[in-house]
């Protein structure tokens, strides 16, 4: 078993799935010769050839739209978009077609498509390189949305996504692409979509987060423990469908909860979690569920990006506030 980072783990999953199932093809801007701008697809072209690892013209709607045709025809395309900020030209194809082919045809056709892309801020990048609009995708019936936060999960979730019969959007937290290394089994394994992961148990407060917000959440939990507060940290992992049982069980146990995400606050996925907790566990709540989020502003350029991203200081402050409500 090797210690891999997220980039390597995804690369390994792609290699193995392409090996296992010749219907799997990879396409996108710079995914072939260049191995992807984050090097996630390195080595695939050399191994599987131009027919299955496809450098496309610069057109996101074209990438997703042709991938839909491929998927319905019988391939298993894994499309890469270079950054989530360049997802929007392809949004119509996703919402109007990928998400709907099955229901539009009453199950005669389906669309086993994966669209991968790096998302989130914190890498001092230019404008449009720091987006996290997972809530928009979660609001689109027919799509599944997955966000791993560790190398182990990245591999297992991606394999599940590729084998899933429906379109899955796979968001990769680029801030931690290479920041975390852990043991990743060489053999293939899957992690079911739709399941959250309890990273740390605790009885006083439930802390929900995903992607690059998981590490500061864990750090804050460690800090909190020093002050006697036992925080249960849960990585949501699947944004849609999300793991309501794990979420509600935790809140019923702790009575207090905080959601952390880097997306804009209004109508972020945090709002949905708060609404669900309100609906299903209100009587257990000892304090309002709080949200620590990005702002309703454009993600700032590098000189100000530190202001935007939630960090462990904010989280620990909020934990204390909720504990003393």
């Amino acid at each position: 078993m090797a210690r891999l980072n997220i980039v390597d783990a995804i690369n390994l999953a792609l290699h193995q799935e392409m090996e296992r199932d010749e219907r799997v093809v990879v396409l996108g801007e710079d995914v072939g010769r260049n191995g992807g701008v984050f090097r996630v697809t390195v080595g695939l072209l050399e191994k599987f050839g131009e027919n299955r690892v496809i450098d496309t013209p610069l057109a996101e709607s074209g990438i997703v739209g042709t991938a839909i045709g491929m998927a319905v025809y019988g391939l298993r395309p894994v499309a890469e978009l270079q950054f989530m900020g360049f997802l929007y030209p392809a949004f119509d194809q996703l919402i109007s077609h990928a998400a709907r082919i099955r229901t539009r045809s009453r199950g005669r056709f389906h669309c086993p498509l994966v669209v991968r892309m790096p998302y989130g801020g914190g890498i001092k990048a230019p404008e449009h390189h720091s987006e996290s609009t997972e809530a928009i995708l979660a609001h689109t019936p027919g799509l599944k949305v997955v966000i791993p936060s560790t190398p182990y999960d990245a591999k297992g979730l991606l394999i599940s996504a590729i084998r899933d019969p429906d379109p899955v959007i796979f968001l990769e937290p680029k801030k931690v692409y290479r920041a975390i290394k852990e043991e990743v089994p060489e053999e293939e394994y899957t992690i079911p979509l739709g399941q959250a992961k309890i990273l740390r148990e605790g009885g006083h407060l439930s802390l929900f987060s995903w992607g690059a917000m998981v590490p500061p959440s864990l750090k804050a939990a460690t800090l909190a423990q020093k002050e006697g507060i036992e925080v249960e940290v849960i990585d949501i992992r699947s944004i849609y469908p999300f793991d309501i049982d794990t979420i509600i069980n935790s809140v019923q146990k702790t009575g207090r909860a905080i959601v952390v995400h880097e997306a804009a606050r209004t109508c972020g996925f945090g709002a949905e979690l708060v609404a669900q907790i309100n609906e299903k566990a209100m009587l257990y709540l000892q304090a309002p569920v709080e949200r620590i989020t990005g702002f309703d502003t454009v993600f700032p350029l590098l000189k100000a990006e530190e202001y935007y991203l939630p960090n462990e200081n904010q989280i620990i402050k909020e934990i204390k506030k909720v504990m003393t409500f």
Binding site: G62, T66, G69, D92, H97, R106
Partner: protein, 359 residues
């Protein structure tokens, strides 16, 4: 038979034609070698389309149909092109392709069921290679390219044909589809029905290019304009483009120059934006009349033949109507169960609540 592709230069305003508006053969050397049966089948499909179209409009006015987009005037373009498509190739229709879909094997009752407001009508039977109708204009050419490209990757001897209108050429997705097709030499035929209008917007307002066919130059492959009201020319040129696709020659763009004789849809009132004179001009170019004269010249058409044919297709249309109207209404479950392969808990919860509310 001569080659039609490449022979007609859209930049010179040349358009392929075999039958002129009065049904006279103007290009005998291009005439496709079709059996009498084939010729009569083409005619039958056009007449069937006309009768089904009229029925649909009537049903809509009676509240038995939802919004409907009539084919009237475009029968040659749809029937001629669809008839040229082998059974194993795939078709990607828009909302206006009732005739093309029926030629390709879609049961008429399915098309009717769809326009009556039941998604089930959008599912082609197994073995009938038709993608579900795409409503967003200009978006489905990408699917046709993707499927063609997938076939190529898999080594299947399959081409795809996608329909869209003059309006559809303005969308960004059309551009991306044409460009991908060129780059990957996808075996796709882009079949543009230039019916002169996108709802109220005349063709000249859609683009400053003199022809739509010349747009193919931007993507490095052949574009050709064909008289879309001439079923023989449409058939011949589509056949050639399909053969080229199968032979590894890549994509072709066909602009079928035609006219929508009816309203855009049943919600539209075309008298708001076009003149009687213009419509009359095109009535004279009716694709069905023209082909009838041709068949008559070949001794394949007579008054009693027409009468028998009308009886036959009218019965067929009535039967399709009955079947569609007597289809069981969708259940609440039907709204939910095709969203994903398996219903997530969210849908189960929402469905349970709905069933509870319904009592």
């Amino acid at each position: 038979m001569l080659s039609l592709l490449g022979k007609y230069d859209p930049l010179k305003g040349e358009m392929a034609q075999i039958l002129d508006k009065d049904g006279r053969i103007v290009n005998p050397d291009l005439e496709p070698k079709l059996s009498n049966d084939d010729l009569k089948t083409l005619y039958r499909f056009m007449v069937l389309s006309r009768v089904a179209d009229d029925k649909a409009l009537k049903l809509q006015r009676q509240g038995r149909f939802g919004t409907y987009a009539p084919v009237r005037g475009q029968e040659a373009a749809e029937v001629g092109s669809a008839y040229a498509l082998p059974r194993s190739d795939w078709m990607f229709p828009t909302f206006r392709e009732m005739a093309a879909m029926v030629v390709k094997g879609m049961p008429l009752e399915s098309v009717f069921l769809y326009w009556m407001g039941n998604e089930l009508g959008n599912a082609a039977p197994e073995g009938v290679n038709i993608f579900p109708i795409s409503i967003p204009v200009g978006t489905q050419p990408l699917h046709a390219v993707g499927a063609a490209w997938a076939a190529k990757i898999k080594g299947d001897d399959v081409a795809t044909l996608v329909y869209f209108g003059d309006g559809g050429t303005s969308e960004g997705d059309f551009h991306e589809a044409m460009n991908f097709a060129g780059v990957f030499q996808a075996p796709t035929v882009f079949f543009c029905q230039n019916n002169q209008y996108a709802i109220s917007i005349p063709r000249a307002r859609q683009t400053a290019a003199k022809t739509l066919a010349q747009k193919a130059i931007a993507y490095g492959f052949a574009g050709v304009q064909v008289d879309g009201n001439d079923v023989l020319a449409v058939y011949a040129i589509t056949k050639e483009a399909i053969a080229k696709a199968h032979a590894g020659g890549g994509p072709t763009f066909i602009e079928a120059y035609t006219y929508r004789l009816s309203h855009h849809t049943t919600s539209d009132d075309a008298t708001r934006y076009r003149t009687k004179e213009e419509v009359a001009f095109w009535e004279e170019r009716d694709p069905i009349k023209r082909f009838q004269v041709y068949l008559q010249g070949k001794g394949l058409w007579a008054d009693d033949y027409e009468k028998g044919l009308l009886d036959e297709v009218t019965q067929l249309v009535d039967k399709a109507t009955d079947k569609a109207e007597n289809w069981p209404a969708p259940s609440p479950e039907d709204v939910f169960k095709y969203t994903y392969a398996e219903m997530p808990w969210t849908l189960k919860e929402q469905l349970a609540k709905l069933l509870e509310t319904l009592g």
